[in-house]
Symmetry: C2
Subunit: 344 residues, 2 copies
């Protein structure tokens, strides 16, 4: 059911049946390290180059999520997936062997929100019984794509974030076929889809500041569309704003009368210990929100610690070309409402 300007409230909320998180070594040494399904000790994953390593992350995450759901790739109707690289090469090469129809997505670091939204819309409509939503990023592919060769040992700005090496995948299943299986991780009761928001920031080393207005817009739109406020949520969780973006978001919302200081959480802040891990403003990348969702957020929804959270991955929509041409860095954020499923 369409709600307000940019939201859907699902009449038959799809379930998240299973989730898998594959993380890099540094992520494994962070606060969430013990929660990941697999922590890779070799960031090359035995591959010949970084891009192939990122493809391997996606493949592992997809296969493990499908396996944890007790399924095979042939049971999955569609893949909704993306990454940060030009022409989505981590996704195309990584998911090829699954031989499942693919919708390639680009929403920068908001991609996991976009993928879950479209997969949930598809499943709820009966267009597929089970879909897989996934996203990945890799520190080394992202540095190569967006910044400097690793060998330069370039100094990073304090406002910069650290691109996550990891991939998270969720199996989204129709509520109509749920009865025979165990308790799902969560249900997806609604979504609010973001538009491109540009406040004119041009500093691509401060993506938190560039993305905060997009998160602000999507959260505000969500409150309006659902006629809710922050009190309706145990947590409102952005993707990778980091410490600087978080401050901006909370200030922007406070000016509209929403007090999120106790409710807000940011995956980028959770994922690393910036004091000891030198990650500056926090973690980022499509993989940041994806592996935090799969390892930390969904288990808390499954066990009822949290009854309802708003998951809002955030993306910065620039490229090196747009940056070199002096363009600003617009942002986008896609929100997903995730709820605890009672044992019934």
């Amino acid at each position: 059911m369409q709600k307000g300007k940019a939201s859907i409230a699902f009449e038959h909320p799809p379930f998240i049946r299973a989730a898998a998180s594959i993380a890099g070594k540094k992520e494994g040494e962070g606060p969430l390290g013990a929660l990941f399904d697999i922590v890779e000790q070799d960031d090359m994953l035995g591959q010949k180059n970084w891009e192939a390593a990122e493809s391997a992350l996606q493949k592992k995450a997809a296969e493990l999520a499908i396996q944890k759901a007790g399924l095979t790739p042939a049971d999955i109707r569609y893949l909704f997936a993306g990454d940060l690289l030009g022409q989505l090469i981590a996704t195309s090469y990584g998911l090829m062997e699954l031989e499942v129809p693919l919708f390639g997505l680009y929403g920068a670091c908001s991609t996991m929100g976009e993928a879950i939204s479209l997969a949930a819309m598809t499943v709820e409509a009966g267009h597929g019984d089970r879909c897989l939503a996934l996203a990945s990023s890799h520190f080394a592919t992202a540095e190569k794509q967006f910044r400097f060769p690793l060998g330069y040992g370039n100094q990073r700005a304090y406002a910069a974030t650290w691109t996550t090496t990891g991939s998270g995948a969720v199996v989204i299943e129709s509520s109509a076929i749920e009865q025979n299986a165990g308790c799902p991780l969560a249900k997806i009761s609604g979504i609010t889809t973001g538009k491109v928001v540009d406040f004119g920031l041009k500093d691509s080393t401060n993506m938190g500041a560039a993305m905060a207005p997009a998160a602000f817009h999507t959260i505000l739109q969500h409150f309006q569309d659902f006629e809710r406020d922050e009190k309706a949520y145990d947590k409102i969780i952005t993707g990778d704003l980091g410490t600087i973006g978080q401050t901006i978001l909370l200030d922007l919302l406070a000016k509209k009368g929403y007090e999120l200081y106790g409710t807000h959480m940011d995956c980028g802040i959770q994922l690393f210990d910036s004091e000891t891990q030198d990650t500056h403003a926090g973690g980022s990348g499509c993989g940041c929100s994806a592996i935090t969702l799969c390892s930390y957020i969904l288990p808390k929804l499954q066990d009822g610690t949290w009854k309802r959270v708003l998951f809002v991955p955030t993306g910065a929509l620039h490229s090196t070309v747009s940056y070199n041409e002096g363009q600003s860095v617009p942002g986008i954020a896609h929100a997903v409402v995730l709820e605890h499923v009672g044992k019934g």
Copy 2:
């Protein structure tokens, strides 16, 4: 309704209410030149760089399609859009001012098929009454992204295609809200979604050959899923295989017993006169199938010249990084069934 392994037959087929095609100067001088809504005489579109020019193409196509449907941007629930550039910058910057929720897509030159598929799925499910599907490409941004600086005057391989400068956009509308308006351009009765297909070709200047196996796979899957063959269609129209890819596709299908020599058409072959326009194997780019659809295919469906066509945009899923790393060029193709709507 799910059909077979990879298809949907829509129980309430959405309508294509309006379409717009914005083409570059060279496209305007080709065989379809008189059919485009707008032929730009300045391939910079008055912008400061090629990327901004491509963004302007998308914005113009979107605004014109919405206007032709008698709507305003606020009437559009979602945008489904993409382009060929790293991090989709033509799309993000081009569509920002519409202020409509955006699902960014990457399917290389198959993007128009992906966008129409997802928009139709969304509209049929009741998740939105009207959505806009669009895609763009620009010769100069693509050459810069994938090949050589234009100033090099690099010689192009005979197997190479010419990236289309253009953007096509369609307004897709729920059949439930059709009654009050005039006759739509076509209805979307089904889709078949492609998987990534890799035959191991490594020559990125011969994308027709790289994409032909993907088109073959999707068309074959479509025939199986719908229990149809080529005789069910007035035309089966691929995106941008060009002359070399066409030969491969027809040969592959003939080996499976399907005779498409009279039924097949390729947008890339239609768009340019390769004899006089020096375009070698044909046109390519997301814009190729998009503007051919909007200017040439949809009018023939509206007036009943064709009763049913299978529209199959095709994409090559490589990047310069994957090419430089010695990877093959996988392909993907997304099929959409378009049908004439009787006056009723």
